[in-house]
């Protein structure tokens, strides 16, 4: 196990006191340390939002991108250098709203990418508007009479869309969350970890207390993650009881990058570039004779 300090840097964290993102940051560092993945062997991608600052607070490679776009940038990097461990950090509005099309498409591609979605069910950094995952009736500055839309369910969408690792964590239980993140990193293929993350300022409904009263661990409840129907059922459980843990996992399927024939000889980013040979050049030109 690596020293947790390996992943510390000097940057002052700007999240609000009590923010659910602290638990996620600690869980991410713990998972990497336990798996002995060094800072240079991993690259984080994030979008925009409170949680998207997470990579800035760690000593590791990162690319902090634009709102909703972590997933496609991460895909490009994975296809260029699949030797890197790729972890995406998105918010709920970021990952499921503005970036929704990328989310739908990564599900059916199965790249070996971990996707941690910090789901606080509200827009925090823009000061409290409703999010795609906000519960129906959620009152905010832009929904003064309550949200009319039903909440987006990332878990059913992921299972339905083709994801082969779908988990839910709770940032109030960082040890359990770290285990989920470790499992996600070790899973070969796309792995979604949706994290229930209280926003202590703008979400007065889905609070730490709210979750502590409701969450239970699937692995302690006899759930079989290989059972797609059971996973589908658990993904819809909400209210009195909220399941956390691995809902669905199928192992042994090829990743996207394993099926790209041009990558069989290793990452393309590592090839030495040199002009083509005369024979190659002639072949290209002769196509047009």
């Amino acid at each position: 196990m690596l020293d947790l300090k390996t992943f510390n840097n000097q940057i002052k964290v700007t999240w609000c006191p009590g923010c659910g993102d602290y638990g996620i940051l600690n869980a991410v560092k713990s998972a990497l340390a336990q798996l002995e993945i060094h800072p240079h062997e991993v690259i984080f991608f994030s979008g925009i939002g409170c949680g998207s600052k997470l990579p800035d607070y760690m000593n590791a490679n990162a690319f902090t991108t634009i709102h909703g776009r972590a997933l496609p940038v991460a895909m490009g990097t994975k296809l260029a250098n699949h030797d890197l461990n790729v972890i995406c950090i998105t918010g709920d509005g970021d990952g499921y709203g503005i970036g929704g099309n990328h989310f739908l498409n990564i599900l059916r591609r199965n790249p070996d990418i971990v996707h941690i979605a910090e789901n606080n069910m509200v827009y925090g950094l823009t000061k409290g508007q409703y999010a795609p995952t906000s519960e129906r009736g959620f009152i905010t500055s832009t929904t003064p009479e309550g949200s009319i839309e039903i909440a987006f369910n990332p878990l059913t969408t992921a299972i339905n869309g083709g994801a082969l690792f779908v988990a839910r964590g709770f940032s109030g239980d960082p040890k359990h969350l770290a285990k989920l993140i470790m499992a996600a990193i070790q899973h070969k293929g796309y792995a979604l970890v949706d994290v229930l993350q209280p926003c202590v300022i703008y979400n007065k409904i889905n609070t730490y207390e709210y979750y502590r009263e409701r969450v239970y661990k699937l692995e302690e409840a006899g759930h079989n993650p290989a059972d797609r129907d059971a996973a589908w059922h658990k993904a819809q459980e909400w209210g009195e009881k909220i399941p956390i843990g691995i809902l669905y996992q199928v192992e042994g399927q090829p990743t996207y990058e394993e099926q790209v024939s041009e990558l069989k000889a290793g990452p393309i980013a590592k090839r030495i570039l040199q002009p083509l040979t005369r024979a190659q050049a002639d072949a290209l030109r002769q196509e047009f004779f």
Partner: protein, 581 residues
């Protein structure tokens, strides 16, 4: 002379035309081909035309000498383009108003094309081949060249198909020659010198340049007229180790390329104006995070969906200033196939050297227009690959101080390291950041330092850019000024003007942004009458030149009806405006 094939989509207008062009090219002739099609897959009206000469050609010209029409609409729409004494070739069964054609002194060359196809080839689909055979007969071009192309093009369909087409073409040739050759004034003969030449369009030349430059990644979303670049690269991906990804939209297309570019692969995406609109936010990301990426913007007429299969140069100022804030970018606009090749290579080198997005602008006309060119115009094996200031693994191993991805340097260029080396852990960042790459979106001094670093890059890029090409006599009374794919039309217009005693020259810009002010201004100021020639409604490049140099174009020749500029169009507009040297 100019030969045009016209008919519905699906009638083999383009494939037949390309085949006939091959037959002419193999005879040593020089070609310029140009196609116009509707935004539909079957039906409608399309043409493929071939201008053929015994010397290199730069543009299409107005006027068709022989039209091979496969549909009544082709006669109605394209008949008026046939020159006096020219001919309309058609199948006997085609119904149209004969008088309307003959009234214009155009000859009617009707032939039983379908009947011959049915009787000798057993399939009326070969009427097309029969028409091309007849065409060769009428212009008295040796049949052997047509036969060779038929053998080559139909080879994969088997011997029965080859033999059927040969029989049909030969009979068409005999009928055309015996019945009409005597009445038709224009003839085409093979040249004595027949070196191998290429018949290539702009998109193919860009794709070839990208492969030559070591492009390792291409992402894209299909959009006319850019799609054929993605298809060309995809068809060569396995051979040249290029990862190709069709993405969910253009936003993802550019972001995949940015992700790959940041990781160390030379990355390309291609689109048209609509897709480029979607890429705009990510363009700024590449600028801010200093990621090399090459974006081809193959223009078509807007706004919005506009005219999907027509041509225009309406996106120039948009490309120059797209995305919020100020950041270095490079905009290049090749005018010809050989420039497309060289520009693609340069785009990758410039993107990596200056660590910024490079936009290569073409337009529909250049993407589909083909010319015959000597293979030496495409020096694939002799291109220079310059990856800029890139720290090798060995240099990083020896690095004493912490690696700073955005190190503040005199040139503004921060030496790059790809993620993955233990000593080069870093963050690429879309927020304003410090030299490491950490968010620093409050501090004034840091803002000035980092914005200053990026601005220095922008100022220094111009040293790598080229001055405009001057063609024609110095000190001419008229200077045509243009950019991108109007080069050919302007060049032939200049030749025609000088041949008729009007001294004219042209200034053609490939390198547009950062504007090569120091190199271009003396050439612009030397113009006696400066005439801006552009395929748009407002004279966007003329505006840019005025902003950058203070020189206002004396006249503007603009075209925005979706059709490409031709030499005749330029000269006609000069005369209308009474511009005389």
């Amino acid at each position: 002379m100019t030969i045009r094939l016209g008919g519905e989509a699906g009638q083999g207008v383009e494939s037949g035309g390309a085949g006939f062009a091959g037959a002419l090219s193999h005879g040593g002739l020089w070609l310029h081909t140009y196609t116009e099609y509707m935004s539909r897959i079957r039906g409608g009206l399309n043409f493929f035309q071939i201008r053929v000469a015994d010397h290199p050609l730069w543009a299409h010209t107005e006027g068709v000498h022989v039209l091979l029409a496969f549909s009544p609409e082709a006669v109605t729409d394209y008949g008026p383009h046939i020159v006096q004494g020219g001919a309309l070739m058609f199948d006997d069964s085609l119904k149209f108003d004969h008088d309307a054609v003959t009234r214009r002194n155009v000859q009617l060359f009707g032939m039983p094309l379908t009947k011959i196809a049915q009787e000798l080839g057993g399939n009326k689909i070969m009427a097309n081949t029969c028409g091309l055979g007849a065409l060769a007969g009428i212009i008295e071009y040796p049949f052997e060249f047509v036969a060779d192309i038929i053998k080559k093009n139909f080879a994969r369909k088997g011997d029965v198909v080859v033999q059927g087409n040969l029989k049909v073409a030969e009979e068409g040739y005999k009928v055309g020659r015996d019945k009409y050759a005597g009445a038709f004034d224009w003839k085409v003969s093979p040249l004595g010198e027949r070196p191998d030449r290429m018949l290539i369009n702009g998109n193919q030349a860009i794709g070839m340049g990208a492969i030559a430059a070591g492009c390792r990644f291409m992402s894209g979303y299909p959009m006319t007229p850019a799609s054929s670049i993605l298809e060309y690269i995809a068809s060569h991906a396995k051979k040249f180790d290029i990862v190709v990804k069709q993405t969910e939209d253009e936003i993802a297309a550019i972001l995949f390329a940015i992700g790959a570019g940041n990781a160390g692969a030379r990355a390309l995406t291609a689109t048209s104006g609509g897709g480029f609109s979607l890429m705009v936010e990510a363009l700024g990301l590449a600028g801010m995070a200093e990621v090399p990426v090459v974006i081809v913007e193959a223009q078509r007429p807007g706004p919005s969906t506009g005219m999907p299969t027509k041509t225009e140069q309406g996106d120039l100022l948009f490309a120059l200033f797209a995305s919020q804030g100020e950041f270095p970018r490079i905009v290049l606009a090749p005018g010809t196939q050989e420039e497309c090749f060289l520009t693609a290579v340069r785009a990758f080198n410039l993107a990596e050297k200056w660590q910024c997005p490079v936009i290569v602008m073409t337009e529909f006309y250049l993407t589909t227009m083909m010319r015959t060119l000597l293979p030496t115009e495409f020096p694939i094996e002799r291109v220079q690959i310059d990856r800029g200031e890139l720290l090798t693994a060995e240099q990083l191993d020896r690095l004493g101080e912490p690696y700073l991805r955005y190190r503040d340097t005199p040139s503004g260029i921060s030496p790059r390291a790809f993620p993955g080396h233990p000593k080069a852990v870093h963050q690429a960042c879309s927020d304003e950041h410090d030299e490491y790459g950490h968010f620093e979106d409050e501090d004034q001094a840091n803002r000035l330092k980092m914005a200053g670093k990026r601005w220095r890059k922008f100022q220094n890029i111009v040293e790598d850019l080229h001055e405009p090409t001057l063609y024609g006599p110095e000190g001419a009374g008229i200077t045509l000024m243009g950019w991108g794919s109007t080069y050919g039309a302007m060049r032939e217009a200049v030749d025609m003007l000088n041949a008729s005693g009007t001294r004219a020259n042209l200034l053609h810009f490939v390198d547009i942004w950062p504007f090569p002010e120091a190199k271009a201004t003396p050439l612009i100021e030397a113009a006696r009458q400066l005439v801006a020639v552009e395929g748009n409604q407002s004279g966007q490049f003329a505006h840019l030149v005025r902003a950058m140099t203070g020189r206002r174009a004396d006249r503007m020749i603009l075209r925005w009806d979706g059709r490409p500029l031709s030499p005749e169009y330029i000269i006609e507009k000069l005369e209308e405006a009474k511009v005389h040297a």
